[in-house]
Amino acid sequence: MLGFTTIKLLRALLTLWAVMTFAFVFMRLTGDPARELLPDNATEEVVALFRARWGLDRPLWEQYLAYAGNLLHGDFGRSLANGREALTVVLERLPATLTLTGCAFALVLAIGVPGGVLAALNRGRSLDRIAMLICSLGYSLPNFVLGVGLIFVFAVGLRWLPSSGSATPAHLILPVATLGLSGAAVVARFTRAAVLEVLQQPYVRAAIASGESRHAAIVNHVLPNAAIPIVTIIGFSLGGLVGGSIIVEQVFGWPGIGRLLVEVVGLRDLAVVQALVMLFAASMTAANLAVDLAYGLLNPKIRRAA
């Protein structure tokens, strides 16, 4: 298990390093932040001074080595826009996003997994058909359309809930519902497919033939064996939530890192964008890593093969 974990961990670090390098080179090749941040009538001397101040006049590889070196000390650089530490700027917006995605993830688990299992066990009956119809609708409904629709019904029409901001817990309800429901639809669909797949296996039939009750067969044989594909799709859905939160935060004026990203890319605030990109990559990589490790725990075969 230790070797398995080490290999996966090294791969994750390698991926993060590649994302960091790519983002660094990409952002510095695509435009001059000095031109974006300084007023249009700034003189050449001012521009040159700005570049020298931020080290933008040095060769790219030198900038890269300096950045990578600082990164190892946990230094993500400073915001070009206001000189504050990039990491601080990002971290103060992080709790809002974590609250949003965390609650949405709980909603995904609470609805998606049981929904999918129930649909599979009632395959072909009306419960299954209705559940799957709702799922395809949820799958096709973009976050922002669902969000605007929920605002229309619950904020404008019924006046039950606030439409924008983050002042009270009630502000959390609509964004979490928007983000969580679409994720739940995807998870329910895949859970249903995974459970159906296992239901067909001979060992399930054997268990029932040997006198186990339907309930016991499901709990002892079907669910443990369906767990691996279900864990995979839950891992993927975490990535979907992270991406989806960017748009949902915009719809509901939620002050998280998604809105921060949209704000700072417009300013070409290199250090903050870089820190955000790495944070997104790190959370996705961590989710993938957690899925891989969960595989190892759930299925000894995989652990030994690696």
Binding site: F152, R189, G240
Partner: protein, 291 residues
């Protein structure tokens, strides 16, 4: 309770879906045909120019619901016809999604084949790129790219084209490696066929059905990505419009003019839903290993 084997292990035939009513698929196909037709002839059928403003007729409700005004589906905050703008929005969104899907498929299939053909370091590097792409929510990359390169039609196509290429690459590589071991590839090789010939004339036709199914999964996602980017203001530039931009514009007027959001929103949902239904149906017809 005594267990009934037939009850717990009903054979799964239509794998993702309870046997799909063909009616739903037929309706979906009809809707997609309509959407494509609208994309082609939007300028001919739109009752107004998409940018024409009538400041005295702002936020008018749909005439279709019996209101007395010249706009069949209402007007927006600048007195523009919602129907005409939606028709043009369909045109833009569909064209971008179509180009994007084809580009993504082309990049992914080519790289997947290269990985399977060259093996070794090339394969490792390509798969590393695949991992990298999979490790970042694509919209982060897209937002950064648009903000840094500026907004333009072809940039948007390029960006949505890069969404999902990694899944084609992974799928193609797997399928090609699989096909390599099948007898026919070897037979052609023994007969002196070049790699080029084996890949394009023999393996590609054999794996194309799986790739088409992947495209039906990818296409709605690209529509959602493009509309999402436009919603964030990173897609098309006004007054040009797309379905996402229309929903975005409607946000501030939701209490006054629900039709501004409902019309383009419904078009997006019906389109992505139709393609998913068609895709599920295709997948059920293709063999089970594609799931």
């Amino acid at each position: 309770m005594s267990a009934n084997p037939a009850d717990i292990a009903r054979p799964a035939i239509g794998l993702r879906w309870p046997t799909l009513p063909p009616v739903a698929v037929a309706v979906s196909l009809a809707w997609i045909a309509l959407v494509v037709a609208v994309a082609v002839i939007a300028p001919l059928i739109a009752p107004y120019d998409y940018a024409e403003q009538q400041p005295l007729l702002r936020l008018r409700p749909p005439a279709l619901l019996g209101h007395d005004n010249p706009f069949l589906l209402g007007s927006d905050h600048l007195g523009r016809d919602v129907l005409s703008r939606t028709l043009y929005g369909v045109r833009f969104s569909i064209v971008v999604a179509l180009f994007g899907t084809l580009l993504g498929a082309f990049i992914g299939i080519s790289l997947g084949m290269l990985a399977a053909r060259l093996r070794g370091w090339w394969e490792e590097s390509i798969m590393m790129l695949v991992d990298m792409q999979a490790s970042l929510p694509f919209i982060v990359l897209a937002i950064t790219a648009v903000a840094f390169f500026g907004k333009s039609f072809w940039l948007l196509v390029l960006i949505v084209g890069f969404a999902g290429w990694e899944r084609y690459a992974r799928l193609t590589r797997g399928l090609v490696l699989d096909a390599e071991t099948a007898g026919y590839a070897n037979a052609v090789r023994v007969l002196g066929g070049s790699s080029w010939r084996i890949y394009l004339r023999h393996i590609l036709p054999n794996i194309v059905s799986a790739l088409i199914v992947q495209m039906t999964i990818n296409f709605p996602e690209i529509i959602l990505l493009e509309t999402g980017l436009s919603f964030l203001g990173l897609g098309v530039q006004p007054p040009l419009t797309s379905l996402g931009l229309l929903v975005s514009e409607s946000r501030n007027y939701i209490a006054l003019a629900w039709w501004m959001a409902a019309v383009p929103g419904a078009v997006i949902v019906l389109t992505t839903l139709s393609i998913s239904l068609i895709g599920d149906w295709l997948r059920d017809m293709a063999d089970s290993r594609l799931r």
